[in-house]
Amino acid sequence: MTNMLDQVFVLLKHRIVGLVPMPVQPILGAVLSVVAILAVFPGLFAISVLLERKGLGRMQNRIGPNRVGPLGVLQPVADGIKALIKEDLVPYSADHVVHFLAPVVLVVVVFMGYAVLPMGRNMTFVPMDAGLLFYFAMGASAELSIFMAGWSSRNKYSLLGAMRAVAQMISYEVPLLLSSVVIVMMTGSLSLDKIVEVQNQYTWGLPHWFVFTPMGFAAFVMFAIAATAETNRSPFDLPEGESELVAGYFTEYSGFKFAEFFLGEYVAMLSISGLGATLFLGGWSAPLEILNVVPSWFWFFAKIMVWICFYIWMRGTFPRLRQDQLMNFAWKFVLPMTLLNLLVAGLWRFMGEGWLRWVVCSAILLAAYVLGGRIGMRSKKFGPRSYRYAE
Protein backbone atom coordinates (compact mmCIF):
# COMPACT_ATOMS: atom_id res chain seq x y z
CA MET A 1 0.00 0.00 0.00
CA THR A 2 2.72 2.41 0.99
CA ASN A 3 4.67 1.40 -2.01
CA MET A 4 1.60 1.92 -4.14
CA LEU A 5 1.16 5.46 -2.90
CA ASP A 6 4.82 6.12 -3.29
CA GLN A 7 4.80 5.08 -6.92
CA VAL A 8 1.35 6.38 -7.78
CA PHE A 9 2.57 8.89 -10.36
CA VAL A 10 5.01 6.47 -11.94
CA LEU A 11 2.34 3.81 -12.28
CA LEU A 12 -0.13 6.30 -13.64
CA LYS A 13 2.33 7.37 -16.29
CA HIS A 14 3.02 3.77 -17.27
CA ARG A 15 -0.65 3.02 -17.45
CA ILE A 16 -1.29 5.97 -19.77
CA VAL A 17 1.77 5.34 -21.89
CA GLY A 18 0.73 1.72 -22.24
CA LEU A 19 -2.44 2.80 -23.99
CA VAL A 20 -0.65 3.95 -27.12
CA PRO A 21 1.31 1.91 -29.66
CA MET A 22 4.93 1.14 -28.95
CA PRO A 23 6.69 3.67 -31.23
CA VAL A 24 4.79 6.62 -29.79
CA GLN A 25 5.37 5.59 -26.20
CA PRO A 26 8.67 7.42 -25.54
CA ILE A 27 7.24 10.62 -26.99
CA LEU A 28 4.09 10.39 -24.95
CA GLY A 29 6.14 9.63 -21.89
CA ALA A 30 8.19 12.77 -22.39
CA VAL A 31 5.10 14.83 -23.05
CA LEU A 32 3.47 13.56 -19.91
CA SER A 33 6.53 14.45 -17.86
CA VAL A 34 6.69 17.90 -19.32
CA VAL A 35 3.01 18.45 -18.70
CA ALA A 36 3.40 17.30 -15.14
CA ILE A 37 6.24 19.73 -14.51
CA LEU A 38 4.41 22.56 -16.19
CA ALA A 39 1.37 21.85 -14.06
CA VAL A 40 3.02 21.30 -10.71
CA PHE A 41 5.65 24.00 -10.54
CA PRO A 42 3.59 27.02 -11.57
CA GLY A 43 1.16 25.80 -8.95
CA LEU A 44 3.95 25.71 -6.43
CA PHE A 45 4.95 29.13 -7.66
CA ALA A 46 1.51 30.45 -6.80
CA ILE A 47 1.64 28.79 -3.41
CA SER A 48 5.06 30.18 -2.60
CA VAL A 49 4.09 33.67 -3.67
CA LEU A 50 1.08 33.52 -1.43
CA LEU A 51 3.14 32.02 1.34
CA GLU A 52 5.66 34.78 0.95
CA ARG A 53 3.09 37.52 1.10
CA LYS A 54 1.33 36.02 4.07
CA GLY A 55 4.49 35.02 5.87
CA LEU A 56 6.06 38.43 5.44
CA GLY A 57 2.84 39.89 6.72
CA ARG A 58 2.94 37.77 9.84
CA MET A 59 6.55 38.72 10.46
CA GLN A 60 5.51 42.33 10.21
CA ASN A 61 2.58 42.04 12.60
CA ARG A 62 -0.07 42.07 9.92
CA ILE A 63 -2.31 39.60 8.19
CA GLY A 64 -1.41 39.71 4.54
CA PRO A 65 -3.77 38.97 1.64
CA ASN A 66 -7.01 37.52 2.93
CA ARG A 67 -9.79 39.06 0.88
CA VAL A 68 -9.54 37.47 -2.54
CA GLY A 69 -11.14 34.08 -2.24
CA PRO A 70 -11.31 32.27 1.09
CA LEU A 71 -8.32 33.35 3.19
CA GLY A 72 -6.86 35.03 0.16
CA VAL A 73 -5.95 31.81 -1.62
CA LEU A 74 -7.15 33.11 -4.96
CA GLN A 75 -4.82 36.11 -4.82
CA PRO A 76 -2.24 34.61 -7.20
CA VAL A 77 -5.03 33.68 -9.61
CA ALA A 78 -6.27 37.23 -9.65
CA ASP A 79 -2.74 38.48 -10.15
CA GLY A 80 -2.38 36.11 -13.07
CA ILE A 81 -5.60 37.27 -14.72
CA LYS A 82 -4.61 40.86 -14.18
CA ALA A 83 -1.21 40.23 -15.75
CA LEU A 84 -2.88 38.61 -18.76
CA ILE A 85 -5.20 41.52 -19.47
CA LYS A 86 -2.63 44.19 -18.77
CA GLU A 87 -1.50 46.20 -21.75
CA ASP A 88 1.87 45.10 -23.07
CA LEU A 89 4.10 48.13 -23.41
CA VAL A 90 7.34 47.99 -25.32
CA PRO A 91 9.50 51.08 -25.19
CA TYR A 92 9.79 52.79 -28.52
CA SER A 93 13.56 52.54 -28.65
CA ALA A 94 13.75 48.96 -27.42
CA ASP A 95 14.98 46.05 -29.49
CA HIS A 96 11.62 44.41 -29.98
CA VAL A 97 12.72 40.87 -30.81
CA VAL A 98 15.17 40.53 -27.96
CA HIS A 99 12.79 42.30 -25.65
CA PHE A 100 10.18 39.69 -26.46
CA LEU A 101 12.56 36.74 -26.29
CA ALA A 102 14.15 37.50 -22.93
CA PRO A 103 11.32 36.32 -20.66
CA VAL A 104 10.64 33.34 -22.89
CA VAL A 105 14.25 32.22 -22.67
CA LEU A 106 14.21 32.61 -18.91
CA VAL A 107 11.11 30.51 -18.44
CA VAL A 108 12.28 27.78 -20.82
CA VAL A 109 15.67 27.54 -19.22
CA VAL A 110 14.52 27.37 -15.64
CA PHE A 111 12.04 24.64 -16.48
CA MET A 112 14.77 22.61 -18.19
CA GLY A 113 16.54 22.25 -14.87
CA TYR A 114 13.72 20.11 -13.53
CA ALA A 115 14.45 17.38 -16.03
CA VAL A 116 17.21 15.93 -13.91
CA LEU A 117 15.84 16.47 -10.42
CA PRO A 118 14.71 13.26 -8.72
CA MET A 119 11.34 14.21 -7.29
CA GLY A 120 10.67 10.86 -5.71
CA ARG A 121 11.68 7.29 -5.92
CA ASN A 122 11.93 6.50 -9.67
CA MET A 123 10.61 9.94 -10.44
CA THR A 124 13.48 11.50 -12.35
CA PHE A 125 12.24 12.50 -15.75
CA VAL A 126 15.60 12.20 -17.47
CA PRO A 127 17.86 10.07 -15.29
CA MET A 128 21.10 11.42 -16.62
CA ASP A 129 24.54 10.29 -15.53
CA ALA A 130 25.85 13.84 -15.57
CA GLY A 131 22.64 15.32 -14.18
CA LEU A 132 24.43 17.78 -11.97
CA LEU A 133 26.38 19.19 -14.89
CA PHE A 134 23.25 19.51 -16.97
CA TYR A 135 21.56 21.37 -14.17
CA PHE A 136 24.36 23.89 -13.82
CA ALA A 137 24.51 24.40 -17.54
CA MET A 138 20.84 25.29 -17.56
CA GLY A 139 21.20 27.51 -14.50
CA ALA A 140 23.96 29.46 -16.20
CA SER A 141 21.80 30.12 -19.25
CA ALA A 142 19.38 32.13 -17.15
CA GLU A 143 21.99 34.87 -17.08
CA LEU A 144 21.66 35.21 -20.80
CA SER A 145 18.01 36.02 -20.58
CA ILE A 146 18.58 38.60 -17.88
CA PHE A 147 21.19 40.31 -19.94
CA MET A 148 18.90 40.22 -22.97
CA ALA A 149 16.18 41.89 -20.92
CA GLY A 150 18.44 44.60 -19.59
CA TRP A 151 20.12 45.34 -22.87
CA SER A 152 17.05 45.35 -25.06
CA SER A 153 15.13 47.77 -22.84
CA ARG A 154 17.46 50.67 -23.63
CA ASN A 155 17.05 52.05 -20.18
CA LYS A 156 19.93 52.95 -17.90
CA TYR A 157 18.38 51.36 -14.88
CA SER A 158 17.63 48.16 -16.74
CA LEU A 159 21.12 47.91 -18.11
CA LEU A 160 22.74 48.60 -14.75
CA GLY A 161 20.45 46.07 -13.14
CA ALA A 162 21.24 43.47 -15.77
CA MET A 163 24.96 44.04 -15.47
CA ARG A 164 24.76 43.66 -11.74
CA ALA A 165 22.70 40.53 -12.08
CA VAL A 166 25.06 38.90 -14.51
CA ALA A 167 28.15 39.79 -12.50
CA GLN A 168 26.55 38.50 -9.37
CA MET A 169 25.30 35.29 -10.88
CA ILE A 170 28.62 34.47 -12.48
CA SER A 171 30.45 35.17 -9.24
CA TYR A 172 28.23 32.92 -7.21
CA GLU A 173 28.16 30.18 -9.80
CA VAL A 174 31.69 29.32 -8.69
CA PRO A 175 30.99 28.67 -5.00
CA LEU A 176 27.75 27.01 -5.99
CA LEU A 177 29.62 24.53 -8.12
CA LEU A 178 32.49 24.06 -5.71
CA SER A 179 30.23 23.35 -2.79
CA SER A 180 28.45 20.72 -4.86
CA VAL A 181 31.78 19.19 -5.78
CA VAL A 182 32.14 18.10 -2.16
CA ILE A 183 29.10 15.93 -2.62
CA VAL A 184 30.45 14.57 -5.87
CA MET A 185 33.66 13.70 -4.05
CA MET A 186 31.76 11.89 -1.35
CA THR A 187 29.54 9.92 -3.68
CA GLY A 188 31.79 9.64 -6.65
CA SER A 189 28.97 10.32 -9.05
CA LEU A 190 27.44 13.20 -10.95
CA SER A 191 24.10 11.50 -11.17
CA LEU A 192 21.57 13.05 -8.89
CA ASP A 193 19.75 9.75 -8.49
CA LYS A 194 22.92 8.17 -7.25
CA ILE A 195 23.47 11.02 -4.82
CA VAL A 196 20.04 10.48 -3.31
CA GLU A 197 20.51 6.73 -3.18
CA VAL A 198 23.70 7.20 -1.16
CA GLN A 199 21.88 9.40 1.32
CA ASN A 200 18.91 7.10 1.60
CA GLN A 201 20.44 4.90 4.30
CA TYR A 202 19.88 4.97 8.00
CA THR A 203 21.96 4.40 11.11
CA TRP A 204 19.94 4.06 14.32
CA GLY A 205 16.96 5.36 12.37
CA LEU A 206 18.78 8.55 11.40
CA PRO A 207 19.48 9.30 7.75
CA HIS A 208 22.88 9.60 6.12
CA TRP A 209 22.28 13.07 4.77
CA PHE A 210 25.36 14.97 3.80
CA VAL A 211 24.29 17.95 5.83
CA PHE A 212 25.09 15.92 8.94
CA THR A 213 28.77 15.66 8.12
CA PRO A 214 31.13 18.57 8.88
CA MET A 215 32.11 19.41 5.33
CA GLY A 216 28.63 18.56 4.14
CA PHE A 217 27.24 21.10 6.56
CA ALA A 218 29.77 23.70 5.53
CA ALA A 219 29.03 23.01 1.89
CA PHE A 220 25.33 23.24 2.67
CA VAL A 221 25.74 26.69 4.19
CA MET A 222 27.86 27.87 1.28
CA PHE A 223 25.43 26.36 -1.18
CA ALA A 224 22.52 28.09 0.54
CA ILE A 225 24.30 31.44 0.36
CA ALA A 226 25.29 30.97 -3.25
CA ALA A 227 21.82 29.76 -4.19
CA THR A 228 20.27 32.84 -2.62
CA ALA A 229 22.57 35.03 -4.64
CA GLU A 230 22.01 32.95 -7.75
CA THR A 231 18.26 33.45 -7.57
CA ASN A 232 18.58 37.14 -6.69
CA ARG A 233 16.85 36.78 -3.38
CA SER A 234 17.23 39.03 -0.35
CA PRO A 235 19.80 39.88 1.01
CA PHE A 236 21.39 39.50 -2.41
CA ASP A 237 18.55 40.94 -4.44
CA LEU A 238 20.63 43.75 -5.87
CA PRO A 239 19.63 43.39 -9.50
CA GLU A 240 16.15 44.45 -8.58
CA GLY A 241 17.24 46.69 -5.72
CA GLU A 242 14.31 48.97 -5.85
CA SER A 243 15.76 51.77 -3.78
CA GLU A 244 18.53 52.40 -6.29
CA LEU A 245 17.50 50.88 -9.56
CA VAL A 246 13.72 51.20 -9.74
CA ALA A 247 13.02 47.54 -10.56
CA GLY A 248 16.27 46.35 -12.06
CA TYR A 249 16.47 44.62 -15.41
CA PHE A 250 12.72 44.24 -15.85
CA THR A 251 11.91 47.92 -15.25
CA GLU A 252 10.54 48.28 -18.75
CA TYR A 253 8.46 45.12 -18.77
CA SER A 254 4.75 45.20 -18.20
CA GLY A 255 1.84 42.85 -18.36
CA PHE A 256 2.40 39.20 -19.04
CA LYS A 257 6.08 39.49 -19.86
CA PHE A 258 6.67 40.88 -16.44
CA ALA A 259 4.65 38.02 -15.00
CA GLU A 260 6.92 35.63 -16.90
CA PHE A 261 9.95 37.14 -15.21
CA PHE A 262 8.23 36.82 -11.91
CA LEU A 263 7.38 33.20 -12.69
CA GLY A 264 10.87 32.47 -13.92
CA GLU A 265 12.40 33.86 -10.79
CA TYR A 266 10.26 31.84 -8.46
CA VAL A 267 10.51 28.66 -10.49
CA ALA A 268 14.28 29.04 -10.47
CA MET A 269 14.12 29.46 -6.75
CA LEU A 270 12.04 26.31 -6.39
CA SER A 271 14.36 24.37 -8.63
CA ILE A 272 17.53 25.43 -6.86
CA SER A 273 15.89 24.56 -3.56
CA GLY A 274 15.14 21.18 -5.09
CA LEU A 275 18.78 20.76 -6.04
CA GLY A 276 19.91 21.82 -2.58
CA ALA A 277 17.53 19.37 -0.99
CA THR A 278 18.75 16.65 -3.32
CA LEU A 279 22.40 17.30 -2.62
CA PHE A 280 22.38 17.88 1.10
CA LEU A 281 19.03 16.96 2.57
CA GLY A 282 18.64 13.55 1.09
CA GLY A 283 16.34 14.44 -1.78
CA TRP A 284 13.21 12.36 -1.50
CA SER A 285 14.42 10.28 1.43
CA ALA A 286 12.55 10.54 4.69
CA PRO A 287 14.15 12.32 7.63
CA LEU A 288 13.64 9.29 9.90
CA GLU A 289 13.53 5.67 8.96
CA ILE A 290 10.09 5.13 10.38
CA LEU A 291 8.76 8.00 8.26
CA ASN A 292 9.43 6.01 5.14
CA VAL A 293 5.75 5.14 5.09
CA VAL A 294 5.08 8.61 3.79
CA PRO A 295 5.55 8.76 0.01
CA SER A 296 8.94 9.88 -1.20
CA TRP A 297 7.65 12.68 -3.42
CA PHE A 298 6.02 14.26 -0.40
CA TRP A 299 9.40 14.57 1.28
CA PHE A 300 10.92 16.14 -1.77
CA PHE A 301 8.28 18.83 -2.00
CA ALA A 302 8.23 19.33 1.77
CA LYS A 303 11.95 20.00 1.72
CA ILE A 304 11.54 22.49 -1.11
CA MET A 305 8.85 24.33 0.78
CA VAL A 306 10.94 24.45 3.96
CA TRP A 307 13.76 25.90 1.93
CA ILE A 308 11.40 28.49 0.44
CA CYS A 309 10.18 29.41 3.92
CA PHE A 310 13.74 30.05 4.91
CA TYR A 311 14.13 32.32 1.90
CA ILE A 312 11.05 34.23 2.98
CA TRP A 313 12.31 34.47 6.51
CA MET A 314 15.58 35.96 5.34
CA ARG A 315 13.76 38.36 3.09
CA GLY A 316 11.73 39.57 6.02
CA THR A 317 14.78 40.21 8.15
CA PHE A 318 17.77 41.43 6.24
CA PRO A 319 18.73 44.60 4.46
CA ARG A 320 20.62 44.05 1.25
CA LEU A 321 24.31 44.10 0.57
CA ARG A 322 26.02 46.39 -1.85
CA GLN A 323 27.41 45.25 -5.15
CA ASP A 324 31.10 45.39 -4.27
CA GLN A 325 30.48 43.89 -0.85
CA LEU A 326 28.59 41.11 -2.50
CA MET A 327 31.51 40.45 -4.82
CA ASN A 328 34.00 40.68 -2.00
CA PHE A 329 31.96 38.26 -0.01
CA ALA A 330 31.81 35.82 -2.91
CA TRP A 331 35.44 35.92 -3.90
CA LYS A 332 37.14 36.60 -0.60
CA PHE A 333 35.07 34.63 1.85
CA VAL A 334 32.75 32.09 0.26
CA LEU A 335 35.19 30.93 -2.40
CA PRO A 336 38.15 30.32 -0.02
CA MET A 337 35.82 28.58 2.35
CA THR A 338 34.56 26.25 -0.36
CA LEU A 339 38.12 25.52 -1.48
CA LEU A 340 39.10 24.72 2.07
CA ASN A 341 36.03 22.58 2.26
CA LEU A 342 37.27 20.58 -0.71
CA LEU A 343 40.49 19.90 1.15
CA VAL A 344 38.57 18.87 4.21
CA ALA A 345 36.46 16.56 2.13
CA GLY A 346 39.63 14.95 0.85
CA LEU A 347 40.93 14.66 4.38
CA TRP A 348 37.71 13.01 5.41
CA ARG A 349 38.10 10.37 2.73
CA PHE A 350 41.74 9.90 3.68
CA MET A 351 41.27 9.57 7.43
CA GLY A 352 38.93 6.62 7.25
CA GLU A 353 36.22 5.66 9.72
CA GLY A 354 36.29 6.79 13.32
CA TRP A 355 35.45 9.72 15.57
CA LEU A 356 38.78 11.43 14.98
CA ARG A 357 37.88 12.63 11.51
CA TRP A 358 34.73 14.19 12.84
CA VAL A 359 36.66 16.21 15.39
CA VAL A 360 39.46 17.23 13.07
CA CYS A 361 37.27 18.22 10.16
CA SER A 362 34.84 20.15 12.33
CA ALA A 363 37.67 21.95 14.09
CA ILE A 364 39.34 22.99 10.86
CA LEU A 365 36.14 24.34 9.38
CA LEU A 366 35.01 26.11 12.51
CA ALA A 367 38.40 27.71 13.05
CA ALA A 368 38.54 28.84 9.45
CA TYR A 369 35.06 30.32 9.67
CA VAL A 370 35.64 32.22 12.90
CA LEU A 371 39.05 33.42 11.84
CA GLY A 372 37.96 34.33 8.35
CA GLY A 373 34.97 36.25 9.67
CA ARG A 374 37.04 38.15 12.17
CA ILE A 375 39.75 39.04 9.69
CA GLY A 376 37.17 40.06 7.15
CA MET A 377 35.40 42.36 9.59
CA ARG A 378 38.63 43.84 10.83
CA SER A 379 39.98 44.51 7.36
CA LYS A 380 36.79 46.34 6.48
CA LYS A 381 36.95 48.16 9.82
CA PHE A 382 33.51 47.37 10.97
CA GLY A 383 32.21 46.11 14.21
CA PRO A 384 30.22 47.18 17.26
CA ARG A 385 30.95 50.61 18.66
CA SER A 386 30.52 52.47 21.90
CA TYR A 387 29.31 56.02 22.25
CA ARG A 388 30.08 58.96 24.49
CA TYR A 389 27.67 61.48 25.88
CA ALA A 390 27.83 65.16 26.62
CA GLU A 391 25.97 66.44 29.63
Partner: protein, 213 residues
Protein backbone atom coordinates in the same frame (compact mmCIF):
# COMPACT_ATOMS: atom_id res chain seq x y z
CA UNK B 1 -7.32 48.27 -28.43
CA UNK B 2 -11.07 48.23 -28.47
CA UNK B 3 -12.80 44.94 -28.30
CA UNK B 4 -15.47 46.01 -30.71
CA UNK B 5 -19.14 46.12 -30.08
CA UNK B 6 -19.74 42.42 -29.90
CA UNK B 7 -20.88 41.42 -26.50
CA UNK B 8 -18.94 38.82 -24.61
CA UNK B 9 -21.58 38.50 -21.99
CA UNK B 10 -23.39 35.28 -21.74
CA UNK B 11 -26.68 36.29 -20.30
CA UNK B 12 -27.33 34.40 -17.13
CA UNK B 13 -30.35 35.15 -15.11
CA UNK B 14 -29.07 36.44 -11.76
CA UNK B 15 -31.64 34.43 -9.81
CA UNK B 16 -30.71 31.27 -11.61
CA UNK B 17 -27.11 32.03 -10.86
CA UNK B 18 -27.71 32.32 -7.14
CA UNK B 19 -29.71 29.09 -7.25
CA UNK B 20 -26.90 27.33 -9.04
CA UNK B 21 -24.39 28.79 -6.62
CA UNK B 22 -26.28 27.20 -3.75
CA UNK B 23 -25.86 23.84 -5.40
CA UNK B 24 -22.16 24.35 -5.85
CA UNK B 25 -22.20 25.36 -9.48
CA UNK B 26 -20.68 28.73 -10.10
CA UNK B 27 -21.47 30.45 -13.31
CA UNK B 28 -19.38 33.29 -14.43
CA UNK B 29 -18.94 35.36 -17.51
CA UNK B 30 -15.79 36.53 -19.13
CA UNK B 31 -16.69 40.00 -18.05
CA UNK B 32 -17.00 39.02 -14.44
CA UNK B 33 -13.75 37.13 -14.45
CA UNK B 34 -12.08 40.04 -16.19
CA UNK B 35 -13.34 42.56 -13.70
CA UNK B 36 -12.64 40.28 -10.78
CA UNK B 37 -9.05 39.89 -11.87
CA UNK B 38 -8.69 43.62 -12.37
CA UNK B 39 -10.16 44.61 -9.08
CA UNK B 40 -8.53 41.95 -6.93
CA UNK B 41 -5.04 42.70 -7.98
CA UNK B 42 -4.53 46.42 -8.06
CA UNK B 43 -0.86 47.13 -7.64
CA UNK B 44 -0.16 50.72 -6.72
CA UNK B 45 2.85 52.59 -7.95
CA UNK B 46 5.48 53.36 -5.36
CA UNK B 47 5.14 57.06 -5.58
CA UNK B 48 4.51 59.60 -2.88
CA UNK B 49 4.33 63.34 -3.03
CA UNK B 50 3.71 64.97 0.31
CA UNK B 51 1.98 64.62 3.65
CA UNK B 52 -0.61 62.19 2.33
CA UNK B 53 2.17 59.85 1.26
CA UNK B 54 2.88 59.23 4.92
CA UNK B 55 -0.72 58.24 5.49
CA UNK B 56 -0.48 56.08 2.39
CA UNK B 57 2.54 54.37 3.91
CA UNK B 58 0.67 54.05 7.17
CA UNK B 59 -2.11 52.33 5.23
CA UNK B 60 0.28 49.66 4.06
CA UNK B 61 1.61 49.22 7.57
CA UNK B 62 0.54 46.69 10.13
CA UNK B 63 -2.42 48.54 11.61
CA UNK B 64 -4.37 49.05 8.39
CA UNK B 65 -2.65 46.57 6.10
CA UNK B 66 -3.51 47.31 2.52
CA UNK B 67 -2.09 43.83 1.79
CA UNK B 68 -5.40 42.31 2.79
CA UNK B 69 -6.76 43.52 -0.53
CA UNK B 70 -3.76 42.16 -2.36
CA UNK B 71 -2.48 45.64 -3.01
CA UNK B 72 0.72 45.75 -1.00
CA UNK B 73 2.84 45.09 -4.07
CA UNK B 74 4.06 48.64 -4.55
CA UNK B 75 5.78 48.51 -7.90
CA UNK B 76 8.57 51.02 -8.36
CA UNK B 77 8.24 50.94 -12.14
CA UNK B 78 5.17 52.56 -13.70
CA UNK B 79 5.06 49.82 -16.34
CA UNK B 80 4.00 47.24 -13.83
CA UNK B 81 1.70 49.34 -11.71
CA UNK B 82 -2.07 49.61 -12.08
CA UNK B 83 -2.90 52.38 -9.70
CA UNK B 84 -1.39 55.77 -9.22
CA UNK B 85 -2.18 57.23 -5.83
CA UNK B 86 -1.52 60.93 -6.20
CA UNK B 87 -0.79 61.40 -2.55
CA UNK B 88 -0.18 65.02 -1.88
CA UNK B 89 0.39 68.41 -3.37
CA UNK B 90 1.24 68.44 -7.04
CA UNK B 91 3.38 71.47 -7.67
CA UNK B 92 3.78 73.06 -11.04
CA UNK B 93 7.34 71.86 -11.08
CA UNK B 94 6.20 68.28 -10.48
CA UNK B 95 3.07 68.18 -12.63
CA UNK B 96 4.80 67.33 -15.93
CA UNK B 97 6.50 64.38 -14.26
CA UNK B 98 3.23 63.12 -12.86
CA UNK B 99 1.60 63.25 -16.28
CA UNK B 100 4.61 61.56 -17.82
CA UNK B 101 4.47 58.79 -15.25
CA UNK B 102 0.80 58.34 -15.92
CA UNK B 103 1.54 58.06 -19.63
CA UNK B 104 4.09 55.36 -18.91
CA UNK B 105 1.62 53.19 -17.07
CA UNK B 106 0.08 50.27 -18.91
CA UNK B 107 -3.67 49.98 -19.26
CA UNK B 108 -5.84 49.30 -17.33
CA UNK B 109 -4.70 52.08 -15.03
CA UNK B 110 -6.47 53.99 -12.32
CA UNK B 111 -5.83 57.19 -10.44
CA UNK B 112 -6.81 58.02 -6.89
CA UNK B 113 -6.43 61.67 -5.94
CA UNK B 114 -5.67 61.42 -2.27
CA UNK B 115 -6.14 64.46 -0.14
CA UNK B 116 -7.23 68.01 -0.63
CA UNK B 117 -4.05 69.07 -2.42
CA UNK B 118 -4.26 66.40 -5.10
CA UNK B 119 -7.92 67.19 -5.75
CA UNK B 120 -7.85 70.95 -5.84
CA UNK B 121 -4.58 72.29 -4.52
CA UNK B 122 -6.12 72.25 -1.08
CA UNK B 123 -4.91 74.73 1.49
CA UNK B 124 -2.05 75.68 -0.78
CA UNK B 125 -4.18 76.34 -3.84
CA UNK B 126 -3.58 80.07 -3.97
CA UNK B 127 0.16 79.65 -4.12
CA UNK B 128 2.24 80.43 -7.16
CA UNK B 129 3.76 76.99 -7.51
CA UNK B 130 0.82 74.75 -6.67
CA UNK B 131 -1.29 73.04 -9.27
CA UNK B 132 -4.98 73.38 -8.51
CA UNK B 133 -5.77 69.70 -8.76
CA UNK B 134 -4.21 66.91 -10.75
CA UNK B 135 -7.45 66.37 -12.67
CA UNK B 136 -6.49 69.34 -14.79
CA UNK B 137 -4.22 67.01 -16.73
CA UNK B 138 -5.18 63.40 -16.12
CA UNK B 139 -8.49 61.66 -15.47
CA UNK B 140 -9.04 60.79 -11.83
CA UNK B 141 -11.18 57.86 -10.77
CA UNK B 142 -11.68 58.45 -7.08
CA UNK B 143 -11.22 61.57 -4.97
CA UNK B 144 -10.61 61.37 -1.24
CA UNK B 145 -11.09 64.63 0.62
CA UNK B 146 -9.18 65.14 3.82
CA UNK B 147 -5.98 66.77 4.86
CA UNK B 148 -4.62 64.20 5.11
CA UNK B 149 -7.29 61.52 4.80
CA UNK B 150 -7.09 58.86 7.47
CA UNK B 151 -5.70 55.50 6.37
CA UNK B 152 -9.21 54.10 6.66
CA UNK B 153 -10.35 56.72 4.19
CA UNK B 154 -7.79 55.46 1.72
CA UNK B 155 -9.01 51.92 2.26
CA UNK B 156 -12.54 53.08 1.68
CA UNK B 157 -11.47 54.84 -1.49
CA UNK B 158 -9.76 51.68 -2.56
CA UNK B 159 -12.97 49.75 -2.09
CA UNK B 160 -14.84 52.45 -3.96
CA UNK B 161 -12.44 51.96 -6.83
CA UNK B 162 -12.96 48.20 -6.72
CA UNK B 163 -16.69 48.74 -6.82
CA UNK B 164 -16.31 51.09 -9.73
CA UNK B 165 -14.25 48.51 -11.62
CA UNK B 166 -16.79 45.86 -10.82
CA UNK B 167 -19.62 47.90 -12.25
CA UNK B 168 -17.93 48.51 -15.55
CA UNK B 169 -18.90 46.36 -18.49
CA UNK B 170 -16.63 45.44 -21.34
CA UNK B 171 -18.86 46.91 -23.98
CA UNK B 172 -21.35 49.69 -24.31
CA UNK B 173 -21.56 53.04 -22.62
CA UNK B 174 -20.27 51.87 -19.29
CA UNK B 175 -17.04 50.39 -20.56
CA UNK B 176 -13.75 51.53 -19.12
CA UNK B 177 -12.05 54.39 -20.88
CA UNK B 178 -9.22 52.35 -22.33
CA UNK B 179 -11.60 50.04 -24.15
CA UNK B 180 -12.89 53.01 -26.08
CA UNK B 181 -10.96 53.26 -29.31
CA UNK B 182 -11.44 56.99 -29.55
CA UNK B 183 -10.28 57.81 -26.04
CA UNK B 184 -6.74 59.13 -25.85
CA UNK B 185 -4.09 56.85 -24.44
CA UNK B 186 -1.49 59.55 -24.04
CA UNK B 187 -2.13 62.78 -22.26
CA UNK B 188 -0.19 65.84 -23.31
CA UNK B 189 2.52 66.75 -20.87
CA UNK B 190 2.38 70.41 -19.85
CA UNK B 191 5.43 72.53 -20.46
CA UNK B 192 7.01 74.75 -17.88
CA UNK B 193 6.68 78.23 -19.29
CA UNK B 194 8.05 81.54 -18.18
CA UNK B 195 5.28 82.29 -15.73
CA UNK B 196 3.12 79.20 -15.51
CA UNK B 197 2.52 75.78 -16.96
CA UNK B 198 1.54 75.81 -20.60
CA UNK B 199 -1.27 74.94 -21.08
CA UNK B 200 -2.80 75.62 -17.69
CA UNK B 201 -5.13 72.64 -18.07
CA UNK B 202 -6.07 69.93 -20.51
CA UNK B 203 -9.54 70.81 -21.77
CA UNK B 204 -10.26 67.19 -22.70
CA UNK B 205 -10.26 66.02 -19.13
CA UNK B 206 -11.03 69.22 -17.26
CA UNK B 207 -14.34 70.92 -17.81
CA UNK B 208 -15.41 73.24 -15.09
CA UNK B 209 -18.89 74.14 -14.00
CA UNK B 210 -19.22 77.89 -13.79
CA UNK B 211 -19.83 79.12 -10.28
CA UNK B 212 -21.23 82.60 -10.26
CA UNK B 213 -20.82 84.54 -7.07
Amino acid sequence: MGLGERSFDVAVDPELKIELGKQGIFVTTIQELYNWGRKSSVWPMQFGLACCAIEMIATTMARYDLARFGAEVFRPSPRQADLMIVSGTVTKKMAPQVVRLYNQMAEPRYVIAMGACAISGGPFKQGYNVLKGIDRYIPVDVHIPGCPPRPEALLQAFMTLQKKIDEQSLTGENRPRYLNVDAPGEFPVPEQGEHDLVPASNPNVWTVPVVIR
